[in-house]
């Protein structure tokens, strides 16, 4: 059982705070994505877990034991670096064998384990190659295999797929997910690609400016963003100023929308609030229904049609399936409505 806990972890570099007061629990066997824009502290958090950085404050607890000051080489974690960090002077097999040879394991055992791992990442027969003779995707697999050589307690990956082209990346996402499910190893992947995080993870941790913004399943993060940052960072969201009436109806641009039981309302009446609605949940209506807005941009995206509306300088994006395309043109004045149950309100 390798559950992982961080207890109010803070990491400062000089006067810069990279990670601030992070507390979280990761259950055994979970696939976790650390998601955030560049410079949000996600890589630092991963390095703190790996023992490559020592926290300024707080504790790292692995399987119930405080490992805050245990050096990386004693943690028995596997890690895939952003640069992959494959050793160019060693062959593929020697790279994968490195964790075992450094521990002085018998040669026959090492060879057997390397064969097993090469088979696992579908690189059988390529053990004698040099790293530079492999393609990008093959190197990726070598790095993954090398991280799994010792059956790590925790498997850490820092932006592992960022160097691959789009097709290969999607393929590797699925493969990595399948591998993790087969092995059941607690896995933490750092990524800035929200699509990657949503497709792979059991649990997404959204970070910004060194702080955890939200922890939840991909569905929770997408459907119920905790704040304006998460709403804006995950997918596209329309963020509009709104107020909440005492009967919990939502008022946007002077128009009242009756609250639905499924709407997520995290704010109090009378305070400055923000309404978040996904573009696919915005509908245009005949003028007079809902607040009025002007069509300023129409774009055919193939799988959908995008309408951009303007109301008092606020842009509202609506997304329609081509079959359901409404008959509106540029510069038309239309009414706007938001699908009941899909509205999220949080403090601005």
């Amino acid at each position: 059982m390798t559950e992982l806990s961080l207890r109010s972890i803070t990491k400062r570099f000089g006067r810069m705070t990279a990670v601030e007061d992070v507390t979280l629990d990761i259950p055994d066997g979970t696939f976790v994505c650390l998601l955030g824009p560049s410079g949000c502290g996600k890589t630092t958090l991963l390095r703190l877990l790996a023992g490559l950085e020592v926290p300024s404050q707080g504790q790292v607890i692995v399987a119930g034991e405080d490992q805050t000051n245990v050096p990386s080489e004693e943690r028995e974690f596997g890690m895939v670096f952003q640069s992959l960090a494959l050793f160019p002077h060693l062959s593929v097999a020697e790279n994968i064998a490195y964790p075992l040879t450094i521990r002085g394991r018998p040669k026959a055992d090492v060879r057997a384990r390397v064969e097993e791992l090469l088979d696992l990442v579908q690189l059988s027969g390529l053990g004698d190659r040099r790293v530079h003779q492999l393609s990008g995707g093959q190197r990726q697999r070598v790095a993954i295999a090398r991280g799994l050589t010792i059956d790590p307690k925790v498997f850490l990956l820092d932006e592992p797929l960022s160097a691959l082209d789009a097709n290969l990346r999607e393929h590797m996402q699925v493969e990595l997910r399948q591998l993790q499910q087969r092995l059941g190893v607690t896995t933490i992947v750092v990524t800035h690609d929200q699509k990657e995080a949503l497709t792979m993870a059991d649990m997404v941790i959204v970070m910004n400016e060194g702080r955890v913004q939200q922890i939840g399943s991909p569905m929770e993060i997408y459907r119920d963003p905790a704040n304006a940052f998460v709403a804006g960072f995950i997918g596209t969201s329309n963020l509009l100023p709104c107020t909440l009436n005492d009967d919990r109806s939502i008022e946007v641009f002077g128009h009242r929308f009756e609250a639905d039981a499924e709407d997520r309302i995290k704010g109090d009446p009378g305070s400055g609030l923000m309404l978040s609605v996904r573009p696919e949940d915005v509908r245009t209506e005949a003028q007079g229904t809902g607040p009025t807005a002007k069509v300023i941009f129409i774009r055919d995206l193939g799988e959908s049609i995008q309408f951009v509306l303007d109301r008092d300088g606020h842009e509202i994006t609506a997304l329609y399936a081509p079959s359901a395309r409404p008959d509106i043109r540029l510069d038309d004045e239309v009414g706007v409505s938001f699908a009941p149950g899909k509205r999220v309100v949080f403090p601005a």
Binding site: L52, E74, R130
Partner: protein
């Protein structure tokens, strides 16, 4: 604006460096070869001829010892330089950019000092009357001041002082390009800091280290002033003897023959070290 068409690169351009090599390297080398087989006039100069008398003089114990001394001193200087430069460069690469620039500028400024200045500075610094011997005596480390020059130690100090900047400059680019994540990866996989250094850092820098060794070896092989200033007569290298024969004994044929021989020896040493330093797997 049709007149803006670019003129093609003139066809004779590649021959320019070749001509340069012929005029400034091949011709002097040919002259040296001719002189080395010329006939020496005892007490005079030399007259044209074709004889191997000068080369025959190599086959003596005396000459063998000189050759051995030259090679050993240069190999020693090369090994010491790289042993010093390697950790130094690793440390340098870990400094911040401003610190790195500062250290590199200081190193480069050392290169502007001539062999003469370094030689005489060291011989003063290591002398009995004005040197560090006085400091040791004053501190009570030694009973009384003594001279540390001329000696093998003084000679090595001078040669390393002269060659160290070159070895750092050869090692610096590959060391600074070394991905720190490689070391971290080794640590994650269970290697102690020393094991990571031994299994990753050193093997990856084997080629640049070989390059620095060759450079210092060839460079110090040609030094002829320092052995005379800082060394004892038994430390006189082949280069010193060439100077001695050419300038003081007026035996140009013999000096030329020794120069040809020195060239062959250094070529052989470089070839040998390249052979030894070759990557077994043929990798990057």
């Amino acid at each position: 604006m049709s007149g803006l068409r670019q003129k093609p690169t003139p066809g004779w351009l590649p021959f320019l460096p070749a001509a340069w090599l012929v005029v400034f390297f091949l011709v002097p080398f040919a002259i040296m070869l001719t002189v080395s087989v010329a006939h020496r006039v005892q007490g005079g100069f030399y007259e044209p001829g074709f004889e191997f008398d000068s080369y025959m003089r190599f086959f003596s114990v005396f000459f063998g010892r000189i050759l051995l001394t030259s090679v050993l001193i240069s190999v020693g200087a090369a090994v010491i330089c790289v042993l010093l430069a390697f950790p130094f460069t690793l440390g340098l690469a870990r400094m911040n950019k401003r610190g790195q620039t500062l250290v590199l500028v200081i190193l480069l400024s050392v290169l502007s000092l001539s062999e003469v200045i370094i030689g005489f500075s060291l011989s003063t610094l290591l002398s009995k009357t004005a040197g560090i011997g006085n400091l040791f005596a004053a501190l009570g480390v030694t009973e009384e001041s003594r001279a540390y020059t001329p000696s093998l130690f003084a000679l090595m100090a001078g040669m390393c002082y002269l060659a160290l900047p070159y070895s750092v400059l050869v090692l610096y680019p590959p060391v600074s390009r070394l991905d720190p994540e490689l070391g971290e990866a080794a640590r994650m996989m269970g290697a102690s800091p020393f094991q990571a250094f031994r299994t990753i850092t050193v093997p990856m820098l084997r080629k640049p280290m070989m390059g620095a060794l060759i450079l210092v070896f060839v460079f110090t092989l040609g030094i002829y002033l320092l052995p005379q200033v800082l060394g004892q007569p038994q430390h006189w290298t082949l280069s010193v003897h060439i100077t001695d024969q050419a300038i003081f004994q007026s035996n140009l044929p013999f000096a030329a023959a020794m120069a040809v021989f020195l060239l062959l020896v250094s070529l052989a040493m470089v070839g040998l070290s390249l052979l030894l330093g070759r990557d077994k797997g043929g990798g990057a």
